[in-house]
Symmetry: C2
Subunit: 263 residues, 2 copies
């Protein structure tokens, strides 16, 4: 893989997709629910995924595509090159706010992240990472994360996980809320990972994410030194839904050991 050539190709592709999303604000958007009433999808999510797939099939015929809306391939194994795509991460924000959503794309080869992209469409902010060559916020290289402690950290997490639930002991979550400097919730896993990589938050935690939610962000976050695992401390599963924590390396272990108690 020529990472440099692919990087240029992908940036241009993502900007074109972003332009299509912005244009959609001028048209009627059709909203449906998926797994539950609050799991939204729109015709634009679908159209943008199909736009990406058309281009990737034409220009990279040997590659496979794992996309949120299901128009890609049926992915059961991690070999070869896989494009993991969420055409609109944060669909609820897209529908309700017309901002605070992102295109999320990760390119993995034999299970190893090579290229990662998070494009905050409305702000025209592109975060990207190239394995071994650093992470960038637009054209500016992002710095390695600075050391921190829990009491001075900002953690991004949905308030849902403070409610008694079947995944983890919510008392641990409540203790975390008490102990950190601040909690934030932006409603887009991709943007929250971009914020982590930028040092604007110090951890991002979610009980349930899909590979396309985190693939792009993982490559970017790892390039600035963030640690990304599931709640057992293992590498996040990129073939199916899993728990997920991405954090500043100085607090990752403490978050897992002290606050996150899987049921």
């Amino acid at each position: 893989m020529d990472l440099h050539a692919m990087d240029l190709y992908i940036k241009s592709l993502i900007k074109e997709a972003g332009h299509r999303i912005c244009n959609s604000f001028l048209t009627d958007i059709t909203i449906e629910s998926k797994s539950n009433a609050n799991d939204l999808v729109t015709n634009i999510d679908k159209e943008i995924e199909q736009f990406f797939i058309g281009r990737i099939r034409r220009d990279f015929p040997g590659h496979r595509i794992f996309g949120e809306e299901g128009f890609g391939d049926d992915i059961q194994t991690s070999e070869g090159v896989i494009w993991m795509l969420d055409p609109i991460d944060g669909t609820m924000n897209f529908v309700h706010q017309k901002r605070n959503f992102a295109i999320s794309l990760g390119i993995f080869k034999d299970g190893v992240g090579q290229l990662g992209y998070i494009y905050d469409v409305v702000n025209d902010d592109l975060y990207h990472g190239v394995k071994g060559r650093g992470a960038y916020y637009n054209d500016e290289q992002m710095r390695p994360l600075m050391e921190t402690v829990i009491a001075e950290s900002i953690v991004a997490m949905n308030a849902t996980w403070a409610v008694p639930n079947r995944y983890l002991d919510h008392e641990g979550t409540l203790q975390l809320i008490r102990d950190v400097r601040g909690m934030r919730s932006y409603g887009s896993a991709a943007l929250e990972l971009a914020y982590l990589a930028s040092g604007r938050v110090d951890a991002y935690i979610s009980m349930r994410l899909s590979p396309w939610d985190i693939a792009g962000g993982m490559v970017i976050a790892q390039e600035v030194g963030a640690v990304t695992t599931n709640f057992k401390g293992e590498p996040a599963n990129l073939l199916k839904q899993d728990t997920f924590i991405a954090a500043n390396p100085a607090i990752h272990q403490e978050l897992l050991k002290k606050y996150i108690r899987l049921k």
Copy 2:
């Protein structure tokens, strides 16, 4: 009061203050704690408040100033014209993120809001409202809020209030988290009120806010039909700290009656 002339004056003043804040990113910022370790203040908060006060005293000598950093007047009554100012609302975001903070300013006359401003400095987005003449996002008039229901609402609230606390029954908060479409937390009361007025969230709830946190946002929110009260359903107290809820009129009463149970 000539609201139109004051509006032009204030917009220019706020933009100048925003420019000073942006310039501060090039200098060293000194951070201190106030009431607790997470209640931050910087030299920039203080400098910007003093900048406003200098101009207001010179150009509106009869007016009083109620500012977060305490350089203004000792305000015990609401008569006359009072400028309620938070020079940097969301200081934690200012320090950690260098974004997601705002200048918040409300001008009240004999206790009635006349002019309100929320300036998202980094995005150069100004929200403002003029009593009886509408609310604006930059130069675009904002539309009256559309009807909604709890199950399709996005509520902005800090996760802190899901933790058992001395102000309200946190079980009500947990039920709210279960029942709404989504929860968000941005870390700036002013920006969360601007989001409410824009229809990007449908309610903003906080157990403890000061007059300068909400004064500007109240004028803006009321111009698009939002209802702003304390948790007892009374007008928010603009002389001291109080509980606060600002919501789409279609859900304000239900939020108060069903979910917010004061201890």
